[in-house]
Amino acid sequence: MNFARRFFARPTAVFGFAVFLVIVLIALAAPLLFARGPLSIIGMPLLPPGSPGLLAGSDVIGRDMAVGLAYGARISLLVGIASTCCAVGIGVLLGAIAGYYGGVVDDLLMRVTEFFQIIPAFVLLMVLVAFLQPSLTSAVIGIALITWPQVARVVRGQFLSLRSREFVEAARVIGMGDAQIIFTQILPNALPPIVVVSSMMVGNAILTESALSFLGLGDPNLMSWGSMIGGSRVAMWVAWWTTVLPGLCIVVTVLALNFIGDGLNDALNPRRRG
């Protein structure tokens, strides 16, 4: 297909896609590879990477870093993808309604999204998660809540401009109903920017989750990359790997997602017409 060829024409997109695939595989395979789970203590603390049986060393209380990193991928991807799905669902629905029908609904939605743009979203997220009690669910809900307005704005803008295009007017003239217009005429044309924004949002959600966990607002029963860094701050000076490795995992994952987003952007909006 034309689209795939354009996407894979970019080396960064290929790199991003490959890396992302590997991370997904690791996340899926973690329970099979390391049945003991990431929280069990396996030996001496702060053993450097390459020590016998310890690919990535051990952490401050003697847990296997490699296991933690593999399980951390599960949390990062889960939170990133789940919260983005929620945010995209809400954002597309509300943005489409506001953009297509306009009027008071649109005014109201615009004020709400402006409000979310102005308030310090991360502080609100901290308050939310702290009040709801830190858990995987509250992280997903919280991140979705502060990010859906972004999607809603993009979708609304697309619908607003597409709504007045002549081909949509033509669809009304030949007697098409609203639902059919939205799904067959507008949505297919509005999809590219939604896809691009979504792929970037997964990366951002992963960053946000790691920040929450770093501050101790992650699920206390789960091992995530952010909580690994937060928990190793005391050992930063003596055991670099305890903070450097989980951080690199985050960087590589988010970078891969952003590369995918860039690739999608190019593949879906070819600059040359036709």
């Binding site: 004020r111 295009r165 669809a171 003239v173 007697g175 098409m176």
Partner: protein
């Protein structure tokens, strides 16, 4: 010695363009104190030729051969800085869209003063004073206040006058005008053309005028060159070229120019199919906080339309002609009045009740690029309407084959996407979409204004043929009196939402009753001269 001479000029496009050369071996001379026109359709290379003289070709476009001699000096051999110093004092340029060509965040005064100060060592205050005098010379009233205004606060005509003032502020020997009136209304166009002509005579400068419109050329040019596909096909004195064209392309172009006189046989007599009365539409803007006063876009308009008849609605931008069309076809909800279709008032029907009636009124849109969904095939686009009405897919496709042939397209193209077609072909697809529903009324909203003149003539003929064959009632919206004369039995002139005058096309053209219609007719470019053109 000519002021400007192009010798074998060749301009190459970037590697991935649709053709290698934009301008191919063009030679041309412009004498002192004369207006030379380059005329051609889109893609003819006329605009790039002008930009090359100015030394302002876009990135990636390069001159690969030839010379541009200005007062016998080859501009292509000049250093970038020497060329820069010529822009303004020697050669100046004005552009198509004055709104886009003026810096939106700088006052008019500063923009004109900046031109002067770029080449003369004077300070801001006297420069502004000169700017004010220039604006006055351009016929702008209240020039002192205009100096402090921003471009968005001016009208289109005012902006183009500011552009001209700026271009002429250093008394250049050559003014390049690249389609300077294409973005303007016809009455404003007439004023600007007159202004350019007057200034040219007063200042004894030369003008290189780029246009696609033979009417404008007839009014303006002393010399004319006709360009096609990057080459000059014919050039000479305007009277010779327009009166006695030697090249077949020039003849075809001239034949395609609408004559501005009606020659249609009268429509068959019948009962009115559409009766509109008291139609009013207001627009209000603003959200929760701001409520500026409403604008009445269509004000108490009445019209009737019979089967087999074409009614032209003519007006400049802001006249409400498009809004009227959209109210009749119920893309907009009118605020008051009625639209009777066969005696049924559809003006205030709810969408659900309206939907079964929509089939009977169809529309052809203005923009060939945005009127077709880029993600659907031609077949899907034109069979969607019948499918909604419950027509079987196979039968719809079979009919689509016939309709595509009727509008002059190969039915084999049904599985292609819109971007594979040219502008004229797309308008045919749009017409096919409308005809598939076997409508009684066809509304055509500026259907040819985005097309080149030869394509325009073909589409106009097609619309007229289809109207006759299917006995359609047609409402034809246009800003162009010449086009209206070509296809309309009757014409309705609109201004600021109101009907100024209405009647048979022949009568309106021969003896307009209102001052406004007279002005519109007088503003038609090339009027009077086009009558002696050859009829093919």
């Amino acid at each position: 010695m000519p002021l400007l001479a192009l010798q074998n000029l060749t301009i190459a496009l970037p590697p991935h363009a649709d053709r290698p050369l934009a301008v191919d071996d063009v030679s041309l001379q412009i004498g002192r104190n004369e207006i030379a026109c380059i005329v051609g359709e889109s893609g003819s290379g006329k605009s790039l030729t002008a930009h090359a003289v100015m030394g302002l070709l876009p990135r990636g476009v390069t001159i690969t051969g030839g010379h541009i001699l200005f007062q016998d000096i080859d501009l292509l051999k000049e250093s970038a800085d020497a060329m820069r110093r010529r822009r303004g004092p020697d050669i100046a340029m004005i552009f198509q869209d004055p709104m886009a060509a003026l810096n939106p965040v700088m006052t008019v005064g500063h923009q004109v003063a900046e031109q002067i100060r770029a080449h003369r060592a004077i300070s801001e205050h006297p420069a502004l004073k000169q700017a004010q005098e220039l604006l006055e010379q351009m016929g702008l009233k209240d020039a002192g206040r205009l100096l402090k205004a921003y471009p968005h606060q001016l009208s289109g005509g005012q902006r183009q006058r500011v552009m001209i003032a700026m271009a002429l502020s250093l008394s250049p020997k050559l003014l390049i005008a690249d389609e300077p009136t294409t973005a303007l209304d016809v009455t404003t166009q007439a004023q600007i053309l007159k202004l350019i002509k007057r200034l040219q005579a007063e200042r004894e400068m030369s003008v290189l005028f780029i246009s696609h419109d033979f009417g404008v050329v007839a009014d303006m040019a002393d010399q004319v060159a006709v360009m096609r596909h990057g080459r000059i096909v014919e050039s000479g004195a305007t009277r010779d070229v327009l009166g006695n064209p030697s090249h077949s392309y020039t003849r075809a172009l001239l034949a395609a120019v609408p004559r501005g006189e009606s020659h249609l046989p009268p429509p068959p007599d019948s009962e009115a199919l559409v009766r509109v009365s008291g139609l009013t539409k207001r627009f209000r803007r603003g959200g929760l906080f701001s409520r500026p006063p409403a604008v009445t876009a269509v004000d108490q308009v009445a019209l009737t339309l019979k089967r087999g008849e074409t009614l032209g609605v003519v007006g400049e931008s802001g006249s409400g002609k498009s809004t009227l069309a959209r109210c009749v076809i119920r893309l907009l909800d009118p605020d008051a009045g009625e639209v009777l279709l066969d005696g049924v008032d559809i003006a205030h029907l709810k969408e659900r009740a309206l939907r079964p009636l929509r089939r009977r009124i169809q529309m052809v849109f203005q923009d060939p690029f945005s009127s077709l969904n880029p993600r659907q095939t031609v077949g899907d686009i034109i069979t969607a309407g019948p499918r909604i009405l419950g027509e079987d897919a196979r039968q719809a496709r079979a009919r689509a084959t016939d309709i595509l042939s009727l509008v002059g397209l190969n039915p084999q193209t049904m599985d292609r996407f819109p971007h594979e077609f040219s502008g004229g072909q797309r308008q045919r697809i749009g017409l096919a979409r409308a005809l598939m529903l076997r409508p009684d009324v066809l509304i055509a909203d500026e259907p040819v204004s985005a097309l080149d003149v030869t394509v325009q003539a073909q589409v106009l003929k097609l619309l007229d043929d289809v109207r006759r064959q299917m006995n359609l009632a047609m409402l034809f919206i246009t800003h162009d009196m010449r086009v209206a004369a070509e296809v309309c039995h009757r014409v309705m002139v609109m201004r600021q939402g109101k009907v100024v005058e209405e009647g048979p096309t022949r009568d309106i053209f021969a003896a307009p009753a209102s001052e406004y219609t007279k002005a519109l007719l007088a503003a038609i470019p090339g009027r009077g001269r086009t009558s002696n053109r050859p009829i093919p």
